[in-house]
Structure formats: structure tokens, C-alpha cells
Symmetry: C2
């Protein structure tokens, strides 16, 4: 029997495979002899308000573990709460550590992205200051793939598979008409263009893929954009354009802001984006007269349990499982990272990286993966990303619909 | 050996299963001993310009027939061309019948919706006038489910399955946050609310489904809408609303028009709709202050080969196959219709209906399927629609993406 219990939470935007990491933590903890695995309800924000559950009351069989793996979005609920600087306000830290002490928690796991790794960093540093022996491990998760020091992040592969699949189908649809048309597809990713770049993966034997890809890593210029579209239009009946929601003009303004009267921000002070596809679609109609449609993948790209990458869901589980083992082995203040052992066959192993190196950093698409003209990706990107969308894991289907596992009332009340 | 060849075409908006009907016509024709099965390229518009192919040059094996079944959008290309009144302009009729004569075509099939059945009606009536023995059969196809005289239309089941699946996942996503939120989901269907009604199917053991459903069959009132949302908000953290793109206020104006400066129409004179979700989402933010997101399913609801209903794809094939047999049996000027033999177990048979009764008519959701308060559906609708989304048929996956069959250059050039 392991001494001490486990506390695990989820934070930030949901993904299609975030619960697979939760399953990995839970199942491995039970297998290793941990007595109780607690789950924070709505992340650290919920925990600071004493909200948690005993996971064994909700996951009662191996079948339910499999169901949890196939459930999108955060089973435990999520939050976008940034811990204050401990020197400014320590009360919330004291609250959290009091709950952990009460529950005899010795192993703490937080499944999330950059902002969530900030939480792991602050808590593990605080633990050191007060001489606590609780171990804090970050489990990477983000569709944005913008965490540093890891080959990629769980969640990115499935979101990429969704994006590539959907763009392939959209091209299929556009191709059937006699009429010329332009499709502008808007994809998530504020500062890092990884997801938008994944649009390129739709190119394969039976699909030409997108003609232009606009990443937030490059400055957007309206005139050059129009020129490029007109050039391609000379050769092709239909044009497909993938744009990041986060593209900016050279004055540093988001393209989508040009379309909005009110600009809303989230609790981290990030601007809420959206409207880029509609804005550019209107811009193209006005300037070319060609039929244009703006398509926004919106929420579905991050919660489509019906299109997940099997390698992604397997790796997400592995990140949770290996995180648990690392904590039992005595590690703290670390995040699980992926290392690519080989590309063909595709092979990934996990390692640990100091959380202070990772937290609050954003990894953008490197120059070597962006084509010279700035509106496409290189072979290096394709070689990197293609293995991540391989393999399928279909949901459990009941009466024609994917079945998910929910946290009782919270789920069914939605 | 059957005397005479087959000509088959596709028309109107694509669906995920329209090519399964094409496969049904093709395979059955070959099995019945038809020498050549021609396909119109881009429907009747292409045919009138002498554009057609010999399908056997593109479908070379039973595997390719299976691949065709799983390919979304129109393999042969489509058109939105309305034949002129023969008394006003007969030239195009003469052109079409000249091509058919040249190719020794005796059996003509058109896979499409209301507008396409207008084509079958006009051609079969013209054939009668000139004493032609060519037989004209309509094969129903539309995600809108608005064709009269048939239990439902091929394409509707898969689009409904996509909508129900996606809404289930969107609710899953919204539920994970601490923050209250409202999701407004915009669904296709100009005058008939069948697709929007399908949002109700997301309700099941593990999902509460949408709270409000706004069909174009009911007048939309801004004040009542706001009142309903506020009422539900008192009881629930998250609210999910499904709206048809075609909802109108009592002055007969589309809700989405209130958001637009320019209004575009297609070649049938139909207004191009869109923007309802964004408009209502802005309306709710302004009036409630609650975080609201507008989600538009757009093109994907009609071309998602990655979520098809097995019963739909099977029935689409059957519609094509039985259409072919009916033409060989001597029928003309008819459309294939579905009759529901029983609901439990779900059993469908095909029959024929005079095309003059069907063409240019729109079947809306009947009062008995709309709840008394006008913002939901009844058990009768659910009993009707649930069997249509049952069963899965997964695409052929190559390197992580669905593989499709294309018409050579036209496909790959897209």
C-alpha cells in the first residue's frame, strides 16, 4: 500500500482526450495501491472552495475507465483560474494545502496547458518553502500544441485529425459545384499556429488540401492576401484557405478585431477571438466578386469524441500513467514530456522536465516548418504531424450516438 | 441483355450519402445487364452541354463501389439549374434528348430534392409529348427531409446523426466550465425545420439535449425568446439553443437578414441565409450579460462522411437500386418513396409516386411534431426520427483520414 492519497484536476480548455489522461492517473494509482484518488471539481478554483470527489465513486469498472477515455471535455470540470503571487496573497495557498492535508494527499496532478503549468510551478515552489512533502506533477494537455520542451501535447493529434478530416470533406463539397468558390476556414490557436498548420494534413492522394495557410506566426497583409488568392484563382475553380483566429496585421491588431465593436477578454486577460473567417470572406467577396463561404470549426475541433486519433488517446493515457509513476518515484515540480524516439515507425517515450522551464511559455511553429512564402508548411511539418493523426478509436455508440461518462448531476443538468 | 443504356445525374446540395444512391443505380444496372451506365457531369446543366462520363471507367471494382458509397458530396458534380418552361424555350430539351438518343439511353435517373424533381417532371412530360420511350425516375435526396409523399429522404438520417452528435459534444464542452453560458447553434433548413428538430435527438441517458428549438415553422419573436432563455437560466447553469437558419419574424423577414447589409440569392432565387446564430448570440449577450457563443454547423452537416447513419446509407443505396428496377419494369415520371412498414423493429420498404404530386412541394414539420409552446418537439417526432440515426458505417481510413472516390482531375484539382 502506497502512503498517502492522490489528487488530480483538469484545467483550461477541454480536449477530446483530456479524460484519457485522467483515466491514466486513476487506473495506475489504483493498480499501484493508492488508497483514494480524489478529483478536484473545476480544477484548482474548485479545490480552493473545498470541492472534490472520490473518483472511485464515479468510475466503477474497467468498462467505465474505457468510457472515460472516450469522453471529451473535462470529466471533472475545468477552470481558468490563475493562482496569485504567493507574496501578494498566500491565503488561497493555505486553503489548498489545508484541504490536501485533511485528505492525506501526497501526490498532486494537474492536467492542462501553459496556464495550468503555472499552477503546478507555484504550488510546488510553495510546497518547498513550507517544507511540504506533497509531490506536484503536470500532465500536458492542449489542442494548441504550444507547450515547450515536449515533442507535442496530448489533444493536438485528435484536434488535427478533426481539422484535416473536416477540411477534406469541405473540399469534397466545394468541388461538386459548377460555380467557382472560395472557402475560408477559421481554426483555433491564438499565438501558435500548430492547429491551423494541421489543415495541410488534409492533402493526400485524393485531396489537394488547402491552397493557403495563414498562421499567427506571420504578419497578415490584406493586399498580399488578395493577390495570392487572385493568383490561385487563375489556375483553380475552387480555393481553400485555412486561417488562424489569431492572425494579426502589422500594427499588432487581430484581423478579427476589425470586425468587432466590443472586445471581450477572459479571466487571464486574453482577448476572446472569433470572426476572422467571416471578415475575410466578406473582404474577398467585395474584392473578387467570387462566391465565398466562411466556416468556423469553433468548439467542435476540441471536443469531437467522434474523431479521435488513437495514438493521441493512447499517449494521453500514457502521460497520466507515467506522471503517476514519476510522483511515486519521488519526483515533484515536473511536467511529463514526450520524446520522439523514431518517426518511422512512430515511437514516443515520456520523460520529465522541470516545470519552471515550461510554465507560461508558448512554443510557436518554428520557421523551419513554415514555407518560405509564409502561406504554407514545409515537409518538416508534415513529417512531424502526420504520425499524430494515425489510428482510430471509435466511441461507444448507444442508439446511434457516442456515449460519455459524466459526473452525475453536473453532467445531466447541462 | 437489357435494351438501352442508363443515364444518371446528381443535383442540388450534396449529402453524406448521395453517392450511395449513385452506387445503387450503377451496381444494379450492371447486375441487370445494362451495357453502359453514363453519368452526367454537373447534372442536367452539364448534360445539356454534352458533359457526361461512362461510369465503368471510374468504378472498377466492388471495393470502389463501397468507396463510392462512403464518399460525401456529389461524385458526379452537381448543379442548381432549373429547366425553363418548354413552351417558352424548348432548345435545351432538344439538346438533352439529342444527347440521350446519341448514347442510346432508355433509363434516366436524377438524384436530388424538390428542385431536381421539377427536372424529372418536366423531362418525363416532355418525353410523353414527343413520344419518346425514355423512362425518367427521381431518386430522393436531401438533408432537409422536405420531400412530400415519402416517410423521409436519404441524407436526412446522416445529417441528423451529425447534428445530434455534435450538439451532445458541445453540451459536454459547455458543462465543464464554472462560468454560466448559452450556446446558440445554427442549423440548415430554409423553410422546413426537420434538421433543426433533429437537435432534440441529442437528448439521451447521458445528455440533457437542447433547451429550446426554434423551427422555421413557427414565427420568431425576440421578446418571447429572451423571456424563455431567462426562465431557463434561472434553473440551469448552461443553456443550449438550436435555431434554424430560416427562422423569420412576424413581418416575414429572416432573423439573419437583420444582421446583413447585402442579401445574396442563388440561381433559384432563394436567399442565401446565415448569421442567425451570431445575431442571436449578440442579442443575448446584450440583453442578459451572460457569456454566449454562436456555433454554425455550416457545410459539415451535409458532407460529414465521418459520421453517417448506417440505415441512411443503406436506404440511399436501396433508393437507387429500386429506382433502377422500377425503370426496367416500365415505370416513368415517378419518384422512389419510402414507406415505414414498422417502427419497432424499424423497417422501410420503397414504393413509387407520381412525380407531378411531388415536384416543387415542400413538406414542413407537422404541428403534431412540434411542442405546444412552439420551442421543442413532441414524442411523435422523436419516435419518427430516432430510428433514422441508428447504426454506423465508418469510412475507409488511409493514414488517419477518410478515403473518398473522385472523378479524376475534378477531384484532385480542388
Amino acid at each position: 500500500m502506497v502512503v498517502g492519497n492522490v489528487m488530480v484536476g483538469q484545467s483550461g480548455g477541454p480536449t477530446a482526450v483530456i479524460n484519457s489522461s485522467l483515466a491514466g492517473v486513476y487506473k495506475t494509482a489504483i493498480d499501484c495501491g493508492v488508497k483514494t484518488v480524489y478529483g478536484m471539481v473545476n480544477g484548482i478554483e474548485g479545490l480552493s472552495q473545498n470541492k472534490y470527489i472520490d473518483l472511485s465513486e464515479y468510475i466503477k469498472s474497467n468498462l467505465e475507465i474505457e468510457l472515460l477515455k472516450r469522453t471529451p471535455a473535462s470529466f471533472l470540470g475545468t477552470c481558468r483560474y490563475k493562482l496569485p503571487d504567493v507574496n501578494v496573497e498566500s491565503a488561497v495557498y493555505e486553503k489548498i494545502f489545508a484541504v490536501l492535508k485533511k485528505l492525506d494527499v501526497k501526490y498532486f496532478f494537474y492536467i492542462g496547458g501553459n496556464d495550468s503549468m503555472d499552477t503546478i510551478m507555484k504550488l510546488s515552489n510553495y510546497a518547498q518553502t513550507i517544507g511540504s512533502d506533497i509531490r506536484f506533477i503536470g500532465i500536458p494537455k492542449t489542442i494548441d500544441n504550444d507547450l515547450d520542451m515536449t515533442d507535442h501535447t496530448p489533444g493536438y493529434g485528435s484536434a488535427s485529425k478533426y481539422i484535416a478530416t473536416a477540411i477534406k470533406e469541405i473540399i469534397c463539397d466545394a468541388n461538386t459545384y459548377i460555380t467557382d468558390s472560395i472557402s475560408v476556414v477559421e481554426i483555433m490557436g491564438r499565438n501558435a499556429g500548430w492547429l491551423t498548420a494541421a489543415a495541410a494534413l488534409s492533402k493526400c492522394e485524393d485531396c489537394a488540401g488547402p491552397d493557403l495557410i495563414y498562421l499567427p506566426e506571420r504578419v497578415f497583409d490584406h493586399n498580399e492576401f488578395l493577390k495570392k488568392v487572385q493568383e490561385i484563382k487563375k489556375e483553380k475553380k475552387i480555393v481553400t484557405i485555412a486561417v488562424s483566429e489569431g492572425i494579426k496585421t502589422k500594427d499588432g491588431k487581430y484581423v478579427c478585431e476589425q470586425n468587432r465593436t466590443n472586445n471581450v477578454t477572459d479571466s487571464f486577460g486574453h482577448k476572446l477571438l472569433g470572426g476572422t473567417a467571416m471578415y475575410l470572406s466578406d473582404f474577398l467577396v467585395e474584392n473578387t466578386g467570387i462566391k465565398t463561404r466562411g466556416i468556423v470549426f469553433s468548439t467542435l475541433q476540441r471536443c469531437a469524441s467522434h474523431v479521435v486519433s488513437r495514438s493521441d488517446i493512447t499517449e494521453a493515457y500514457m502521460a497520466g500513467a507515467d506522471g503517476l509513476k514519476a510522483a511515486l518515484d519521488g519526483h515533484t515540480g515536473k511536467m511529463i514530456v514526450f520524446e520522439r524516439v523514431s518517426n518511422s515507425p512512430y515511437l514516443i517515450s515520456t520523460d520529465l522536465c522541470d516545470i519552471n522551464i515550461i510554465a507560461n511559455k508558448e512554443k510557436c511553429v518554428p520557421d523551419s516548418m513554415i514555407s518560405a512564402d509564409g502561406v504554407g508548411v514545409t515537409k518538416e511539418f508534415e513529417d512531424y504531424a502526420r504520425p499524430l493523426i494515425i489510428g482510430e478509436l471509435y466511441p461507444f455508440i448507444v442508439d446511434g450516438l457516442p456515449r460519455h461518462l459524466h459526473l452525475g448531476d453536473r453532467g445531466i443538468k447541462g
